[in-house]
Symmetry: C2
Subunit: 669 residues, 2 copies
């Protein structure tokens, strides 16, 4: 264990989920989302946007005549699906699925060129142009996603065919890029391969891949800037014209405006940023690079303390799907891409391995229970690319500034990055629940106390956990109905020795937590968001954690202009929203009574029946501005005219599952 790695996550297979909330989502992914997406990738889904992804590989493999169709990054859709399916396989054997995967892996490997190159857009008659347009062409991005798929499939099945192919591909790329003379000093236009190379390194132990990941990060943004040179030497001349508009590079857009060490605020395309920060955290940890860690920490703070929506969404503008600047979080025009929040979860997950602070779990939870779940319809067949904080359907239709905000989920997208990204995250959820500690504390400093082999519980998801530490293993069982219910029960079946200890994350939203051990209030010490039960946890112990979950009104930092005078409703990690269906038209006319009662009522909502029998709905006292007497006029002297109303809020992640209508997260108080 490196001196900066203070905790290690566990394998998906070692954390089977048996949870009232999550098991259904897991089944949905397994039984609906993956089969549905497979049909889409094979263009067998009549109403969905065409994909052509599998066919592109068949054509590249010489199995079929035809032309490439789709975005330059179309290959990655299949890769992400393979990765998601691998996580499902790891969680639960499925020979039929494995067979489908083996068949498509055969095609992929056939499509690979003799030298290791793999990209169906370029093999379709453009190989002479390979690596000449890194800014736009996503070659490394696609390769990266396939590397992730290969590592996941290998881990799930032990089969090396795709892994070996992607190792060849990685070696091919390492032959093209690097510091050695004759190699290009370029790096990807869309970051992704960096974190994928780390996975390949972890799966194979081959240092070359880690070195290449590190090179891409270290080289990025150095002067003279590669993308500016590429623009002058190649792209500007349009010798190779893609479908994308040929524009001079925007270095902020893909975070190549300065060396990564000098970056301290999140800028540009949010998904690119998240994938890069994730890789930076990986490399910092593995290489013990403290300067890189400090850059990660600065970026983490900027993202989560200054540029993150309350739902865990990031990206304040559709222009470049990008970050803007501190405290600029407009609700009506938020971009808030699903993939960016998934990337944020990756980033949090990596940071957690170096710094045992509850904030990482808090942000993971925020993004997971709100954006990621909200991005998929209750039936697993429709998705959101943009996760709005506010919907006015007429504005989405008629105001071009808001046309990116869709009031209904879509079946698929021409740029279909988000649906398979959701699938791979949900299928791999097990790995985020537990981790175990090494002997060091935050960034190289040994813990004051000895917490070696401590078991951490980050997420409250019922099921079993088998955690192998250096001295032996923990076996624990988690029960509960989080995030709906307050109580979590842990049964300890096995511990690795006398010094066994357990640390429970006390979520940042929780203002009153109780921990009992075998029916008695437990001794514990709070540190950075974790309750440490350090005194010899034993097999047979029963730990009961109660996280008090009142409905709360949350306010934003007053610097967030868009949320001034407003509050959001939250219960546990779940953000609530108002929908027109429950509250009538014009949600902006509603005002919450800050001092008024707010109750939780369990409702059976028809649309969510497939997932939940009962939903905790919040009913709150509020007021509605009277609309009488306006008769077509726009302005008149201010006379407050409100009537008391009951405001009903549902969990944000369930919005848009009924008739399309208005939706609102931030409500006036």
């Amino acid at each position: 264990m490196n001196h900066m790695e203070i905790s290690r996550p566990i394998e998906i297979r070692n954390a089977p989920i048996k949870d009232r909330f999550w098991s259904r989502y897991q089944e949905l992914v397994r039984n609906t989302v993956l089969p549905y997406q497979w049909e889409v990738l094979n263009d067998r889904m009549p109403d969905a946007a065409p994909s052509h992804a599998v066919q592109n590989f068949r054509i590249a493999a010489g199995l079929e005549e035809g032309s490439f169709y789709g975005e330059v990054f179309q290959d990655s859709d299949l890769a992400k699906w393979l990765e998601a399916a691998s996580y499902c396989l790891e969680g639960k054997a499925n020979p039929e699925l494995e067979n489908i995967m083996d068949n498509v892996i055969d095609i992929i490997v056939k499509a690979q060129q003799d030298d290791g190159y793999l990209d169906t857009y370029f093999t379709a008659g453009r190989r002479d142009k390979e690596w000449t347009n890194l800014y736009e062409c996503h070659e490394m991005y696609c390769a990266g996603h396939m590397m992730e798929a290969a590592a996941a499939y290998y881990k799930a099945t032990g089969k090396r065919k795709l892994l070996d192919a992607m190792c060849r591909c990685a070696s091919h790329i390492a032959g093209q890029f690097g510091e050695d003379e004759g190699k290009k000093r370029g790096y990807p236009g869309h970051q992704e391969i960096e974190l994928a190379l780390v996975k390949l390194y972890e799966a194979t132990g081959t240092e070359e891949y880690l070195k290449l990941a590190s090179f891409f990060l270290e080289e990025r943004g150095k002067e003279p800037n590669y993308f500016l040179e590429e623009w002058e030497t190649t792209r500007r001349k349009r010798t190779f014209k893609t479908d994308m508009p040929t524009e001079a590079p925007n270095l902020f857009y893909n975070q190549s405006h300065k060396a990564v060490y000098g970056q301290d605020s999140a800028v540009g395309h949010a998904v690119r940023a998240m994938y890069m920060y994730t890789a930076m955290s990986d490399v910092a940890r593995i290489e013990g690079n403290e300067e890189m860690y400090r850059a990660c920490r600065r970026l983490w703070e900027d993202v989560t303390n200054r540029q993150m929506y309350i739902t865990g969404a990031v990206g304040s503008t559709p222009t470049g799907e990008a970050f803007t600047f501190a405290y600029d979080l407009p609700n009506e025009t938020a971009y808030a891409e699903t993939c960016a929040s998934i990337g944020l979860i990756f980033f949090a997950h990596r940071m957690q391995r170096m710094d045992m602070d509850g904030v990482y779990g808090d942000v993971m939870e925020r993004a997971l229970y709100n954006v990621v779940l909200g991005a998929m319809s209750g039936d697993g067949k429709q998705f959101l690319y943009v996760n709005p904080l506010e919907i006015w359907p007429e504005a989405s239709e008629k105001n071009p500034q808001r046309s990116h905000v869709k009031p209904v989920r879509q079946k698929w997208f021409g740029c279909a990055c988000c649906p398979p990204n959701i699938a791979r995250l949900l299928a791999s959820l097990g790995q985020y629940i537990y981790s175990w500690a090494g002997k060091y504390g935050c960034v190289g400093k040994p813990f004051a106390d000895n917490r070696e082999d401590m078991l951490y519980i980050h997420l409250y998801i019922a099921g079993e956990g088998t955690i192998e530490t250096e001295r032996g293993k923990y076996k624990v069982e988690q029960e509960g109905n989080y995030p709906w219910e307050e109580e979590i029960r842990l049964t300890i079946h096995e511990v690795p020795g006398e010094k066994a200890g357990i640390a429970l994350r006390i979520p940042g939203w929780c203002r009153s937590a109780a921990v009992e051990r075998n029916g008695q209030p437990a001794f514990y010490r709070m540190e950075k968001g974790y309750a440490y039960l350090e005194k010899g946890v034993k097999a047979g112990d029963e730990i009961r954690l109660t996280l008090s979950m009142p409905v709360e009104l949350i306010q934003a930092n007053p610097k967030v202009r868009a949320d001034a005078g407003k509050a959001a409703i939250q219960r546990g990690p779940v953000i609530y929203c108002l929908e027109q269906e429950d509250n009538g038209e014009n949600l902006s006319a509603l005002r919450l009574d800050a001092g008024g009662r707010m109750e939780v009522v369990y409702n059976k909502l028809a649309f969510s029946a497939a997932l939940f029998e009962q939903i905790p709905v919040v009913v709150a006292k509020g007021f509605r501005t009277a609309e009488d007497g306006w008769e077509g006029s726009l302005y008149r002297p201010y006379v407050p005219q409100e009537k008391e109303v009951e405001i009903k809020a549902i969990p944000y992640f369930l919005w848009g599952n009924r008739k399309p209508g208005e939706m609102l997260v931030w409500v006036r108080v």
Copy 2:
């Protein structure tokens, strides 16, 4: 007088302005704005964006070698300047200015082609392409503006050179377009020539011009659509490529999506819409076309009752500089172009001639005292294209959704439509003050009472008015210090006979007006926003009108989502705003106390010294959200923490004359 013309405006020369508020603006236009813009048009202003407008005419006239430079509508900048200068001349002789104008008119007339065609973009080697791209190329727009200039110069000086040239041009166009066989059934991509042809008709009496204006309006939007045909036959083939992106026509953009009679909501480019509605009102009046009038009235109601900002600005989105839909009035991203509000004043002015309702004067005032004045800096040398309701300078810089909103006025624009438009409006202000009534009431219905030859006073601007009616003339003198002070004094020097009557507009914002005649409360009857003094007004009468001007909080229709829970400060016709300079950073943290005191304090503000000795500043009780204890966090449970503060508001039209900073019109209450 046509049966639909119920009132006629008067000549600029007959309403000399001697007003403490406006005389300085008039002088500013005369002594600074016009000379400054003349330098810009001649490219002698080093820091301003290049214009080349005069040079384009010199090149077209064969007086100089060179190429056309600028937008396809560059000619119109010079035309608008000539029109503005003509109004100045009409108001006050200026031989030096007249000499400059004669010289440039000589160049313009030399630049005209033998057949009457005039457009320096096309005469610069593109004459074979004339009239082939009406959608984009602004030929008729430029011709229209020069016709307006010609009519204005003729009216001011009696000189016919430019007028005759533009009559030849109009006849040339009439030879190209119309219902007769062999003529094109096209109409302009940017409406303007329609209203200009009406002016040419009014200056010359030539029916052909009116007929052509009417044809352009009647033909617009008919099926098969001219622009769709032009797209298929010419534009799509790119035989003639302009600098503009070649896109399929957006028929909503230039209001050709349906026949004008069927239009009932304002859509598309706001300036195009306003110029078209103005021309529609002209044609409805002159032709006695009631169906056209009803269309105008529907459009008027949609614009002013559903799509107008409180400042009199219109245009809710920068995409297409356009209207969006009813009640969609976002503050942060408003487009609110200066020219659109000027167009709205034209539209109101024309509607007023057919329907004596105070709403037209109200809207005129709203646009004039807020947008038009606000669009020009106190020194007359810097201008706004977009008139924001809210400024956060960092967002203008870093959030692309708000990049069109400039926190400081600009010296000139590449697309320089707005500065000369302001000049021509301010220089012609006299014509908006008075009008006199014919014998008919609203749209063809005779007045129940006989109000023939009634004198109307629409705007309260001090000075003299000589109004020639059919039976004789009125001579009145107006005194006061509107909009700062409540009292207006009218001295009647001459009346046309025993039945003389005066109608005073009681502004819509005024909730308590008092009218005295010779020191006694006057007898008057209110009708649609006017106080009618019908009983034999006599020479020597002194009328004192007191318009009570308390500071008021104004609310928006609750359907305007963007203004929910907010109010604007208004006093008289003047909308107020908060600036960072007076209220500190983060104006969104401020809340007005709806029941609290609001006082007017006269302040000497350094920046406005050139225009005003004292400015009525509003001081109000309010609260500011405390920013303590947030230390880099974004969200926390809602606990109202406010401290009482004094909120200071200045007239909106004076915003941005100090250090750049935040600005806000709609404040939380």
